[in-house]
């Protein structure tokens, strides 16, 4: 037969942003760790191998941080001038960095001094990247040239001078060792192939390009410049797929989540926006204190590291529910639970399914047994009435529907009554609950008017409630006055137009010539 139907708890639409699984995911980070650097943090790069240290380029230094270290594990400070773009090789053993003096330096992560120096650029090198075969190094410079270097011999293999402005970003394909992409202030993004002597694809971004990013599959390219983030389809020869304008200042950095499902962009407007890579809609947004210059995600999204113009490095680590595992009681063994579950029914067996047990809330269990006073007690417990007043109100409404609200409210001592009254004081003016709680308040006054004067605590609360209701009535009166004024204004407007004017929601005032009543036959 039909089972017990649990009490209906009204759900109210929440104001503000909707809670989605993305907001839950991206909010599940600990409070940030802030580290002060020597200058604006221009680049952050994670080592691709465990323990996932990351190189932070700021001012004339590159600092290597460990996962939870507040202090740098290692510092490369052998730069004469500002260092740029400290990047790990994909085996995590070598680190390359450009510099204001035009020299590209190669460091051993374990060592201290530079292993090799690649000179040839005449101006500052702001982009360096290793190719996926580990033997070559790409660099882009403010002298408008892109160069490809042989790592061991320090010889320059190629020099492309197609860009007509500073080259400020670039990346290499991790599928093809010969392919790399650069973005420049000349508003273009160019794809180069080391086997050809000129660019393969050129894409017009429209703004100075601040950052480029290749998807792991190599099929899609993301470029950021100005307020725009643009996604290009490489397989269609660089066709624009989508253009996103969700920032209101220049977008400076891009980053993909480890699964490739979400794209992150940081901007000078101090926001990090997270997009879904299937629909390119913003699913979440993170706020920071200063303009963001660099952004990186640790593998498995374990940490979000953001570098800002105020030379602060902001690190947020992912929360893990460690407590739950500790608390786990030693229950029956796994074998006990699995017993008989893996039995495959043979043909002709009669299957008897186990009835599904519905879990009922405490108040529902009590209501099911018609223990109304206890049910009301259950929803007046501190955590229920404070965190979820809609549950308390819902149960009160249900009690009223059953015609037993008076019984449930009666027979309470001073402490319980004061709990009830404090709940009323807190919620009676909430428009969601007013209709129910006014009735509750009336019943309480009816029942307990005889005991007024016996307890100073309760008397005080009654006075407070009275005060609150008087204020609310005054407030409502004022609101009605305003409404009346607005009505007059609307009415004058419609008479001028002499036509039907329809308000969007609440006001549809009809004036205008009325048809003559039909003649009665």
């Amino acid at each position: 037969m039909s089972s017990y139907k649990p009490t209906v708890i009204q759900t109210y639409p929440k104001l503000g942003n909707k809670v989605t699984q993305d907001t839950l995911y991206w909010k599940n980070y600990k409070s940030p760790v802030q580290i002060k650097e020597f200058g604006a943090v221009t680049n952050i790069n994670f080592s691709p191998i465990a323990p996932y240290n990351y190189a932070v380029t700021a001012s004339t230094r590159i600092n290597i941080y460990g996962r939870y270290s507040q202090e740098p594990l290692k510092t490369f400070s052998r730069f004469n001038d500002t260092a740029y773009c400290g990047t790990y090789r994909n085996d995590g053993r070598l680190l390359a960095a450009g510099s204001e003096d035009g020299i590209v330096r190669l460091f051993d992560v374990a060592g201290r001094a530079a292993l090799r120096q690649y000179s040839g650029h005449t101006k500052a090198v702001q982009v360096t990247a290793f190719t996926s075969d580990k033997y070559h190094l790409m660099s882009g410079s403010d002298d408008y040239s892109v160069r490809l270097w042989d790592i061991p011999s320090t010889t320059e293999l190629h020099c492309f001078k197609e860009h007509t402005d500073y080259i400020r970003c670039g990346c290499t394909s991790n599928l093809n060792a010969d392919l790399f992409v650069t973005g420049s202030y000349d508003h273009t993004v160019k794809v180069f192939d080391a086997r050809m002597d000129k660019s393969v694809i050129t894409m017009e971004h429209g703004q100075p390009v601040e950052s480029v990013l290749l998807f792991p599959s190599g099929g899609l390219l993301v470029s950021a410049g100005g307020r725009y983030v643009k996604v290009w389809d490489m397989l269609k020869g660089g066709q624009l797929l989508v253009s996103l304008r969700n920032h209101h200042k220049t977008v400076t950095c891009l980053c993909l989540s480890s699964s490739g499902q979400r794209l992150l962009s940081g901007s000078l407007d101090r926001h990090v926006k997270i997009y879904s890579t299937s629909t390119y809609k913003v699913v979440h947004s993170l706020d920071y204190a200063a303009a963001i210059l660099s952004l990186a995600l640790a593998p498995e999204n374990e940490a979000i590291v953001v570098g800002m113009t105020n030379s602060v490095l902001n690190i947020r680590h992912r929360k893990h529910n460690e407590n739950k595992q500790e608390k786990k009681k030693k229950g029956p063994s796994y074998r006990f639970f699995i017993k008989g579950k893996d039995y495959m029914p043979k043909k002709g067996d009669l299957l008897v399914s186990k009835p599904v047990k519905f879990h009922l809330k405490k108040y529902d269990k009590l209501l099911k047994g018609f223990r109304v006073s206890l049910a009301l007690d259950a929803v007046l417990e501190t955590n229920v009435r404070v965190k979820t007043p809609e549950v308390t109100t819902g149960v009160m409404q249900e009690l009223n529907r059953r015609g037993v609200l008076q019984n449930a409210l009666a027979g309470r001592d001073e402490k319980q009554l004061s709990v009830l009254l404090s709940f009323l004081i807190r919620n009676v003016v909430d428009p969601r609950f007013t209709s129910v709680l006014v009735n509750v308040a009336e019943i309480i006054v009816d029942i307990y008017s005889s005991v007024i004067g016996e307890s100073p605590l309760v008397d005080n609360q009654f006075l407070k409630l009275q005060d609150l209701i008087e204020k609310e009535i005054d407030y409502q009166e004022e609101l009605l006055e305003v409404l009346g004024m607005m009505d007059t204004i609307f009415a004058t407007m419609t008479t001028k137009k002499n036509a039907v004017v329809c308000g969007n929601q609440n006001y549809a005032l009809i004036a205008g010539p009325e048809e003559e009543p039909m003649v009665v036959a």
Binding site: S2, S3, P6, S435, M518
Partner: protein, 832 residues
């Protein structure tokens, strides 16, 4: 003014089944069938499939009691208010004998001790108004005649209660216990000892000792009684006037409606308004088992003779069969009555089911074709508290379907004196996978006051745009709700939101209606009808017929779509022309219900004049009504609905033309669902549906499967051979098949007769080839069909309007006429 076009052949017939909870149901000995009295019929249900297998038709008034024949468990006695006891073979559905008693029989009992006679409750001196009733023993004479008059009636107990639950027969029929008001009486047959056990009438601590029901233990001398205040008393040692004892059990908080001992006497079952079946262990009554939330209040409880099954019948026209371990095994649900029908009658465009208020907080979907409930849709989704003093619970007050049946809108309300109106509007989307409606949008307090009307916009092919719903409220507003897209990257979904709010001179909006093509919305504000353009929501024009307030509003259909019909509360029916914006005609008719046929131009109007309801069917563009019937039913008509037919019927006369494509159903004030039909159609429909049901209900045994295959092969063979068809309904064949084998004459004699019969009847009859191989069974049914429908016709032509209880008794002359009719061969009807 109007021509009398009513023909005798368009008649009002009752549909939607009858109450199946009127009397205690009965199990057959093998547990395969459940028998219950239902109106003038006895219905035989299969306990396995819940289908109605057979309907025993023959009584001419309400059936009041059914009992198995103690000497033959395949036979059934039934009593009725028409003063007859009939003996049936319920497995084959044959009436075997009729005993004419000439008393209004109110209940029937059989006793194991006295197999020759049966017991019944009759009013004293056959005068029901006197309020005195007697338990009588009726000695059934042995006779071979079909119809026997019974004279041997002896009074057993005087002054008994008329309810059948107030009398019970004890162990092996040795004694009979009867309760009335505050007294328990026990009569021992053998010793002729008569004991009375009175209870005090003191109303102490809310105690109310009035007896409501009685049951006797099957093995011991123990009597259980139920009381008004929910107490159950177990009386022992009742053969002693002084030293009797009783123990009291109190669980029910309200009146005990019925109680019964299990077949072995190990437990006692009781039930009441709480709709909880309580199983008490006999001799250790503190141990109880419960089966809660069964639906409506429990009216009767019955157990099967072997104790495997129990069944409870409920106030919401339902019988539940329950296994002995208190698990529900089957539910037989009729059309739920008793609740006020606030939603009106609607048609689900998908399932073509009739939709109306069902169980509290539910909508019921009722199939008119198969005459059974399809399912209940829980709208309110709140726990229903069963209490005798009516609680003010949430009710479904309005509902509407859109034209494709993809959306259902419901409005539920709850109002009590102290709190504000609780109102919710719910929009349900049809889910193809689950074949049911799923909640899509819930709107709290859509209007500040009651919603008076709502309707969906018909979206025809030429119109595009989102689905639109209009609600009119008594808060002087009408609101337009449209279906919008609410999907994001995580899910795809749609939801409804308010698009426009319209008012007119601060008058209450009472009705709303869209034109057939959805291009015009009419909303009535008290006296004034306003017309709005659904594209811009501009007010186009207004109509009124002062001083009457508009009660009902409808647009014409098809070629009459330029007309708008309105009824006023001062008794006018008006028709406005929308092209000229003028009143086309108006007439003085106090129309209560106005209903438009969706498939034709016809409009049906039920008018009320001094408690008599008449029906007018007219086209808005024609001055004369197509059809008129006076005195459709006693009392007012609440709601009406045109239901499109599956296949159009052929009617050549003008008076019946309006029935060709749709059928008009209406709900009377006494909540009887009625329809207009003609004899021939009705007959054909009943016979065809009956065949289907019976064939479907043959249980699938391995032998059946084997035989079925064999049969099929045979069928193929027969049809290949193109055997010429045999005619049906020949008197000879009937005679041959119905005469018991031992009285049949020689086969050679029969043979020539049979062949002769074939030769004669072949000329006039059309044959059905496919039924040849099942000739014998078919014949039987045909015969019984014709007879039954005849009886039914007789009865309905006379008594169709009156409520079941008020059926007048047939006079002797009428009965004689009936007997004559039965002797005449009516088999030719089957071939029409």
């Amino acid at each position: 003014m109007v021509e009398q076009t009513a023909r005798d052949d368009v008649r009002v017939i009752r549909t939607g089944g009858s109450k199946i909870n009127y009397r205690r149901p009965l199990f057959s000995t093998d547990n395969r069938y459940l028998l219950c009295a239902s109106g003038d019929f006895v219905k035989v249900y299969s306990t396995a499939t819940e289908e109605c297998v057979r309907v025993l038709q023959g009584h001419k008034n309400l059936v009041t009691g059914i009992q198995l024949n103690p000497r033959n468990h395949l036979q059934l006695y039934s009593t009725s208010l028409d003063g007859t006891i009939r003996l049936w073979d319920f497995t084959d559905g044959i009436l075997m004998k009729t005993f004419v008693v000439d008393f209004k029989l109110l209940a029937l009992y059989t006793s194991a001790a006295d197999e020759k006679s049966i017991f019944a409750i009759v009013p004293k001196d056959n005068n029901e108004i006197s309020g005195n009733f007697q338990l009588v023993s009726i000695n059934l004479p042995k006779s071979t005649d079909q119809e026997v008059a019974v004279k041997d009636v002896t009074v057993v107990l005087d002054d008994v209660h008329q309810s059948p639950k107030s009398i019970a027969f004890g162990r092996e029929g040795q004694f009979v216990a009867s309760v009335k008001s505050l007294e328990l009486c026990v009569l021992f047959f053998k010793r002729r000892k008569y004991y009375r056990f009175p209870l005090s009438s003191k109303d102490r601590k809310g105690a109310n000792n009035v007896f409501t029901c009685v049951a006797c233990h099957p093995k011991e001398d123990c009597v259980a009684t139920g009381h008004k205040d929910g107490k159950i008393r177990l009386w022992r040692n009742i053969s002693n006037k002084q030293e009797y004892t009783y123990s009291t059990q109190h669980w029910h908080h309200n009146v005990v409606n019925d109680l019964i001992f299990s077949a072995e006497g190990t437990s006692l079952l009781s039930g009441g308004v709480e709709s909880v079946l309580v199983q008490w262990q006999y001799k250790s009554e503190t141990k109880k088992n419960f089966l809660p939330r069964l639906g409506g209040a429990i009216e009767h409880i019955a157990t099967s003779p072997d104790g495997f099954l129990h069944c409870t019948s409920h106030s919401d026209n339902k019988i539940i069969t329950i296994q002995s371990n208190l698990t529900v095994s089957a539910i037989i649900q009729g059309l739920v009555k008793g609740q006020e029908v606030l939603t009106g009658l609607m048609l689900d465009p998908r399932s073509k089911a009739l939709v109306l208020n069902g169980k509290p907080g539910h909508l019921q979907f009722y199939s008119l074709q198969s005459d059974k409930q399809l399912y209940n849709l829980d709208i309110v989704q709140k726990e229903y508290i069963h209490q005798s003093s009516e609680l003010n619970q949430t009710q479904v007050v309005k509902a509407a379907f859109d034209c494709q049946g993809t959306w259902l809108v419901t409005v539920e309300e709850r109002k009590d004196e102290t709190t504000d109106l609780e109102q919710q509007m719910k929009l349900w989307a049809y889910n193809e996978e689950q074949q049911s409606f799923a909640l899509n949008t819930m709107i709290n307090a859509p209007h500040e006051s009651h919603i008076s009307a709502l309707c969906f916009q018909n979206l025809t092919g030429s119109r595009s745009g989102p689905a639109t719903l209009v609600t009119a409220g008594l808060d002087c507003q009408f609101k337009v709700w449209i279906l919008g897209d609410d999907s994001d990257i995580y899910r795809k979904c749609v939801c409804w939101s308010c698009d426009f709010v319209g008012t007119y001179h601060h008058l209450q909006a009472t009705n709303c209606s869209f034109s057939e093509d959805g291009s015009l919305l009419a909303v009535s504000f008290e006296q004034i009808i306003t017309l709005w353009d659904p594209d811009t929501w501009d007010l186009k024009c207004t109509f009124c017929h002062p001083p009457g307030k508009i009660q009902d509003l409808a647009f014409g259909r098809l070629s009459c779509s330029k007309y708008l019909l309105g009824t006023t509360d001062n008794g006018f029916l008006c028709c406005w022309n929308l092209l000229s914006c003028s009143l086309e005609w108006s007439t003085r008719l106090n129309v209560k219900v106005l209903q438009v046929d969706p498939l034709s131009e016809n409009v049906a109007a039920f008018t009320e004049f001094s408690q008599v309801t008449d029906l007018f069917v007219f086209k808005p563009n024609e001055p004369r009504p197509l059809y008129m019937q006076k005195n459709v039913c006693s009392g007012l008509v609440q709601w009406a609905l045109f239901v499109p037919r599956e296949f159009p019927e052929d009617y050549n006369s003008d008076g019946k033309q309006w029935l060709a494509r749709s059928q008009l159903y209406f709900l009377s004030a006494s909540q009887n669902l009625m329809t207009f039909s003609t004899e021939s159609v009705e007959e054909r429909l009943t016979s065809s549906s009956k065949h289907l049901v019976i064939e479907e209900n043959i249980p699938m045994t391995p032998l059946h499967v084997l035989l079925g295959k064999h049969r099929e092969q045979q069928t193929n063979f027969v049809s290949e051979a193109k055997q010429t068809a045999l005619p049906e309904g020949s008197a000879t064949i009937d005679e041959m098949l119905h005469t018991p084998a031992h009285v049949l004459p020689n086969a050679s004699f029969l043979c020539s007769m049979f062949v002769n019969s074939l030769m004669i009847s072949k000329m006039g009859t059309s044959a059905k080839e496919e039924e040849v191989e099942e000739m014998d069974s078919e014949k039987e049914e045909d015969e019984s069909d014709t007879e039954i429908t005849l009886v039914e016709d007789e009865q309905e032509t006379k008594e169709a309007y009156s409520a079941e209880e008020l059926l007048p008794k047939l006079t002797k002359s009428e009965q004689k006429e009936l007997k004559k009719l039965r002797k005449i061969d009516f088999s030719w009807i089957a071939t029409l």
